[in-house]
């Protein structure tokens, strides 16, 4: 009963309802405007909402998250520029549809499918998270440590980039998180005797730098890309179309939830994998893939929104983020004095059900805003980048400054922005850095707890791992990721794909 009340909080408090609506609306535009990403928006939002109560702050962020994951598809379809990373796959078939004058239909299908996927994700979250958290209470410190390592490794291994670069990025993040005084022994770590570093580096400055400033700098490369105007026709798809793609959308939604729930990997990877899946299982697509296949829209769009619900599962049950945005939300919960993890689910189940309620609301608003206001939308998206980039930079500065009222944070943000800019040029993923920063403390604490409980004996530590089924599974997963990158395995994969 309490759960139901908590679930309904959003609906009964007009202020929260309004915030979710405003967040979702803003999210659709944030996602749609190339150069503005959800991760960036949520990191900037933390610094603006940290003086608020926790419920309004979370409501707004959830709205932006849900809307933003969807919003990227619009620009992908209309302009062939994915507005958000999660819409990269959507452009492959969405834009060809728009070129045939079917932009309206493409947007309609995308919206309905995003709603469907979002709903599947939330349902799985609501059904599964309580069970997972019951189970998670029995997790040992070493299991937490292994899950954190797994999360940092997964991004590198599932993306199209290089695992080594992903590992470097993750380790860098852990290192950044360790800067300052060690909370247990008050020893200085990575401070280089600079007093300023004793307090550590503000993770918000790191995040805004990596996702805001580096993106803005990157956008300088395509500052003159002209916008193409589109005519919008029929929007709401027919029931027949939806029913026809139900089996595929169920499969790709499930895939999306799973990828979302894996620590570290989010909607962008889910969408690409779902697109790949659709290409393999669809025998007769409406048109060949890449030329405007509806299946090519259904798969990534269901998957990326399903990944939202999925990403909350490890975040709420283990305190381990499911993707970069939930990593930032964990930071927000910390700031508000909450400690996400199995105990949060036990001590404050209301918080969990509130989040589920807010997600459902955001998903409904997404459907509403997705099917309306497309004319206004095309106009706003055509905002020239020459104006947009300075505005993003100004917002980033305000965001970085506002948390501690410190100019130093602005310089950290700028430093990490420039560093992130080079990382992107040379193929290093940025997600693992943020994940590392957020997980640094958890990893350090749990390692020390685990090794102290084994009396500093590495042999006993490994014996503990191989005798516990859960720890063993996690260790095997970590090892598999490494094996999958060895030359032997790649040769095997190549043989397999050439045999097809």
């Amino acid at each position: 009963m309490d759960a139901l009340m908590a679930f309904l909080t959003v609906f009964t408090q007009p202020q929260l309802l309004l915030l979710v609506a405003a967040g979702t609306f803003a999210g659709v535009y944030v996602g749609a405007i190339p150069g503005l990403s959800v991760t960036m928006a949520v990191s900037i939002l933390i610094s603006f909402t940290f003086s608020w109560d926790v419920l309004p702050a979370i409501s707004l962020m959830i709205g932006v998250y849900m809307g933003g994951v969807y919003g990227g598809s619009r620009t992908a379809i209309l302009l062939n520029i994915p507005g958000a990373p999660s819409a990269i796959a959507t452009a492959m078939d969405g834009y060809p549809m728009a070129q045939r004058g079917e932009a309206g239909e493409a947007i309609g299908i995308t919206t309905v499918m995003s709603f469907f996927g979002g709903f599947v994700g939330i349902a799985v979250l609501a059904l599964l998270a309580p069970t997972v958290s019951d189970f998670a209470i029995r997790f040992q410190p070493r299991d937490y440590m292994l899950i954190a390592v797994l999360g940092i490794l997964l991004v590198g291994s599932l993306s199209s980039g290089s695992l080594v670069k992903g590992i470097f990025a993750g380790a860098l993040g852990i290192g950044i998180g360790a800067v300052g005084m060690d909370p247990l022994t008050f020893t200085e770590r990575f401070t280089f005797d600079i007093p300023l570093l004793r307090g550590g580096i503000s993770f918000i400055a790191v995040m805004i730098g990596m996702f805001g400033v580096s993106e803005a700098l990157m956008q300088l490369h395509n500052i003159d890309t002209p916008a193409i105007k589109q005519k919008i026709s029929r929007i709401v798809p027919s029931f027949g179309t939806i029913r026809k793609h139900l089996p595929l959308s169920l499969q790709t939604s499930s895939l999306g939830v799973l990828i979302g729930a894996l620590p570290g990997t989010g909607g962008d990877i889910a969408a690409l994998m779902a697109y790949d899946h659709a290409k393999r299982v669809t025998k007769s697509p409406s048109r060949p893939f890449g030329q405007g296949a509806i299946e090519g829209l259904v798969a990534p769009e269901t998957a990326n929104n399903a990944a939202v619900g999925g990403a909350f599962i490890p975040m709420m049950t283990l305190g381990i983020p499911g993707d970069a945005v939930t990593a930032i939300m964990i930071g927000a919960l910390f700031i508000h004095g909450l400690n996400p993890g199995p105990l949060l689910m036990v001590d404050q189940p209301d918080m969990f059900w509130f989040i589920v309620g807010a997600l459902v609301t955001a998903n409904c608003f997404m459907l509403l805003f997705g099917l309306t206001g497309i004319k206004l939308f095309t106009r706003i998206v055509e905002m020239p980048r020459a104006v947009l980039i300075p505005l993003i930079l100004l917002l980033s500065i305000v965001g970085a400054y506002a948390v501690n009222n410190a100019i130093t944070d602005v310089y950290w943000m700028l430093g990490f922005g420039v560093f992130g800019y080079f990382m992107r040029h040379y193929g290093y993923p940025l997600g693992p850095v943020i994940l590392g920063v957020i997980l640094s403390r958890l990893l350090d604490d749990n390692w020390r707890r685990a090794i102290i409980s084994e009396r500093e004996d590495l042999g006993r530590f490994f014996y503990g791992i191989v005798t516990s089924p859960l720890s063993l599974c996690l260790l095997v997963a970590v090892i598999l990721i490494f094996v999958s990158q060895t030359p032997l395995w790649t040769r095997f994969r190549k043989k397999e794909s050439s045999a097809k």
């Binding site: 080594v164 770590r189 490369h221 100004l394 500065i397 290093y428 997600g431």
Partner: protein, 190 residues
């Protein structure tokens, strides 16, 4: 500035974790230097981490930092070994594709922003920043630049100062008095 017309292959610029950018099988300009920097940086970190508590205890405060820095060093070295033999891209230069003058100018503007924020205050500094940045990027007339800059600055200020109650340095602007005057105007002095 010629980078405005150069057709830039944006697939090489990392856009997300799923597609991190770079060029497989090729070495982009500056990539080697960056990798060498990462190796040296990781080495310095490892040395520093060793100084925290050495090999005194597995649960010591320096254990995780040392492991982390070691992982960074090893992975950076692997990247270096893999990058070294790669042929350089032939169609790119540092000035055009990696660090165009435009990016340097914008970064310098940001540094200037940081320097001026305290003494001048949020409103004048932001106005100067927006006007300079929009003018340089859009290459439109002064009328457009100033109108767009000031218009969006007022909007940002109202939203963040009033809705989010974010306090930025007032500097030379008598912000408190201005807000009070506004309140008096609308609230009839309440």
């Amino acid at each position: 500035m010629q980078d405005h017309v150069h057709p830039h292959d944006s697939a090489r610029d990392g856009s997300s974790d799923a597609t991190p950018g770079g060029m497989p099988g090729k070495r982009r300009p500056g990539e080697l230097l960056f990798t060498v920097f990462l190796v040296l940086f990781s080495g310095v970190l490892l040395w520093n981490a060793f100084g925290i508590s050495g090999f005194e205890a597995l649960s010591g405060p320096g254990a995780v930092p040392m492991a982390t820095a070691a992982v960074m060093l090893v992975s950076a070295l692997i990247v270096l070994v893999r990058t070294l033999p790669l042929p350089r891209t032939t169609d790119e230069t540092v000035m055009r594709d990696i660090l165009p003058p435009l990016a340097i100018v914008i970064v310098l503007l940001l540094v200037a922003y940081g320097l001026l924020l305290r003494p001048l205050g949020f409103l004048p500094t932001s106005a100067l920043f927006l006007i300079a940045a929009i003018k340089i990027l859009s290459r439109r007339g002064w009328g457009f630049t100033v109108a767009v800059s000031l218009g969006s600055l007022v909007l940002i200020y109202l939203v963040f100062r009033i809705v989010f109650s974010v306090l930025m340095p007032a500097g030379i602007v008598p912000e408190g008095e201005m807000l009070q005057a506004l309140r008096d105007l609308f609230g009839g002095g309440v």
